[in-house]
Amino acid sequence: MRGISIGFPGVKALDGVDFRMFPGEVHSLMGENGAGKSTLIKALTGVYGIDAGTITLAGEQVSFSGPAQAQAAGISTVYQEVNLLPNLSVAENIMLGREPRRFGGIDWRAMRRRSAELLAGLNLDIDPGSLLGDHSLAVQQLIAIARAIDVNAKVLILDEPTSSLDADEVAELFRVIRSLKDQRVAILFVSHFLDQVYEICDRLTVLRNGTLVGEYLVDELLRIDLVQKMIGKELTALDELEQRVHTVAVGESDAATFVSASQLGRRGAINPADLPIAAGEVVGLAGLLGSGRTEFARLLGGIDRADMGELTVSGESVKLRTPRQAISKRIAFSSENRRDEGIVGDLTVRDNIVLALQADRGWARPIPKKKQDELAQSYIQALNIRPGNPDALVRNLSGGNQQKVLLARWLAIAPRLLILDEPTRGIDIGAKAEIQKLVFNLAENGMSVLFISAELEEVLRLSHRVVVLRDRHVVADLENDGLTVDSLLALIADGRVASDDEALEELQADGAAAPVAVAAGAPAPSVTGAPAPSGTATTHPDHTEGGPR
């Protein structure tokens, strides 16, 4: 691709960007939120028409008028927002458009068989006949990947494929990527996880504000330089944070309990569990994909109704029937599924930010325009939302910026308990650090936080306490005092449900033995070779995206 330019009304999303990929090589596109990565991908695959520039594929100049053509030309893509069809079966979602046929019609049996194989290739054991909509976002992301790798593609494009995946799944994905690489497929891999980029990629291109910064070989670029190239300045926020996490974590235990769940559960979703959260406490929820973290958080946030157990807020027993009631108790739930449950795409950034606050005040007491603008401006600045125009439609923001808007909405209601389900999904490292800092500051000021993330490092870095879920049971509730990613992983992945106590003991033993992982912080060499099963892919409990020194 040479000299690619794309403009949207009011924004120049790409300005004369050059980009190239080679067969058998994994190339990463790096840049902050809104740098233009997804736009470049959409330009390449014909979703957006380009204003200027040329695209050459295998020596021939091409111009796709739509994804179908790009696909036919051998470019297979997983876009950033999971774009699958909830009303169709998993098998159809994988095979649609190239179904095996027999007697002029679709061969359903063959289709199921083939998709089962593909899913097995990603170590995903689900029924291909089940409806896609019944699966969690992470599973859907894997299904999208399964769809993309099935095509006999010359080029495979993955736009933040790992944003909801945990270590296991990432390892599986990388195994597949490597084998495709051996088959001389050119692969484009976008991720905000530097670890993953350094592990799998050979070459990377950095974008900033829609312009090309440069193309580098991964081996030749230090992380610190990469980060600097991406954001245009040095990043120090994370370092500060680390220092503070652990100073604050101590001595926080005697704070008053704000929310306490006792034997709270919901049939078919989550088994009864206890969870007290103190004011100013950050509690991390850890667990495998599908372990029930989201389900549990939804009960606390009033999104789903609990059908057993009791919830007390500030010592008072309450029943949360609607999110509205939760909000009136100053409990905010930020969904992991920002597209379907989070942002209101056709409203402006300003409206999205004030929505929850306004809903809480009721319709008859509108927030004055001036106040709205102030609120919007302050969060746009605090979270560095780009473009910084409060009148922009949220739909037109980049994925990461949408996430920030969502976060701003919840911060705006001044919650006393903020439930964050995968809040840093798709957020660049700079912003991630900002958000973490913000969460931390707020916690210091007495806000409780329930924090869910597939990234264990992040959970460990932020939380005072970590609650582990497995198979929809709470299996452990630990002080984050000497916990390591490894010890957590051991607990999470352990198949034995019955042996909570054992696991705990083991873990505590582990925890005591292992050094505080987050403190390590040395630049880690990327892991090569096939990862061992069961989550040891990230043997280096490394959070160092931003913090090499």
Binding site: L84, N87, L88
Partner: protein, 368 residues
Amino acid sequence: MTELLDAPGRTSPGADRAPARRAPRTPRGPAGSGPAPSGNPLARAARAAGALLTSPKYGPVTVTAILFVAVFVVGGIRYRGFFSGQVFLNLFVDNAYLIVLAVGMTFVILTGGIDLSVGAVVALSGMIAASLLQTGWSPAAVIPLILVLTSVLGLLVGLMIHVFKVQPFIATLAAMFLARGLCYVISQSSISITDPTFVQLAVSRIPLGGGMSITPSVIIALVVVAIAVWVLHATRFGRTVYAIGGGETSGLLMGLPVARTKVLVYVISGFCSGLAGVLFTFYTLSGYPLTAIGTELDAIAAVVIGGTLLTGGYGFVLGSVLGVLVLGVIQTIITFEGTLSSWWTKIFIGALLLVFIILQKVLTARRR
């Protein structure tokens, strides 16, 4: 057309489209597998039935079928001469054209669109047929001509919707005005059809034994249904129709031929309206510009009663056929009742529709 909300209050279309967090996905390991199935076959059957009813995919259709049978039985108990094979068959005989219309409408609604022009197109095909036959054209030329013309009209509508992004409701409304207007242009008064082939097709009956019979139109309608079922279920085009209803952008990004499919769906609807118009002329042996006013609402109602979501993505052709039968049986009951004044007739239709929809809603309500 619009994305009409299915369950906005309680949850959201999100919950309907992606029946999130209810049906547990297959467990990852043996640990999660449910309780061993109990040996009692009755209990198992009951559970299977419950699962069927509450399934987002099959529930509404199943309930519609059950309700239809129930209504039919109640009618049989209440009215003399109701519970006969011929009364049942007459549902098909009288509604053959509506079945064909509902089939076309199902395609459109599955993509999340709507077609308001079908009623007017039925009238237009009748007018074209009657006026051309009157001037001595042969039926062998007239019928294909009608089908081509109405398909072309569908094509134009489809292009308007796809290329110019005109909302289906409006594009088809314009088509409705146009078709109705053309009817008047052809002739203001009704024209009867005396062509022997048409007359033959109109009066001939296919005996089914036991004094029961159907018309050739019924056979045509059933063939259309069979083809539609096959196309929707077993062809790429059919699956793309569902895909568009599930999410047009997603379909587009998945590289499906969204443009072609979306346009084709309206061509199909146009074709079906044309065919329905022809069947309607077999039924009435005439063309009349004022005929079939409001039939589009009947077709839409039939499709929705049959369990298809107006937002697209979920539904079956067979459900729509059931929907037509339900509307038919409501009508039959009213005639058998025979004492309703004009206004009570309207109120009664509305009430039965309401009862039906509420029962459907209640029975398919997924347990919380």
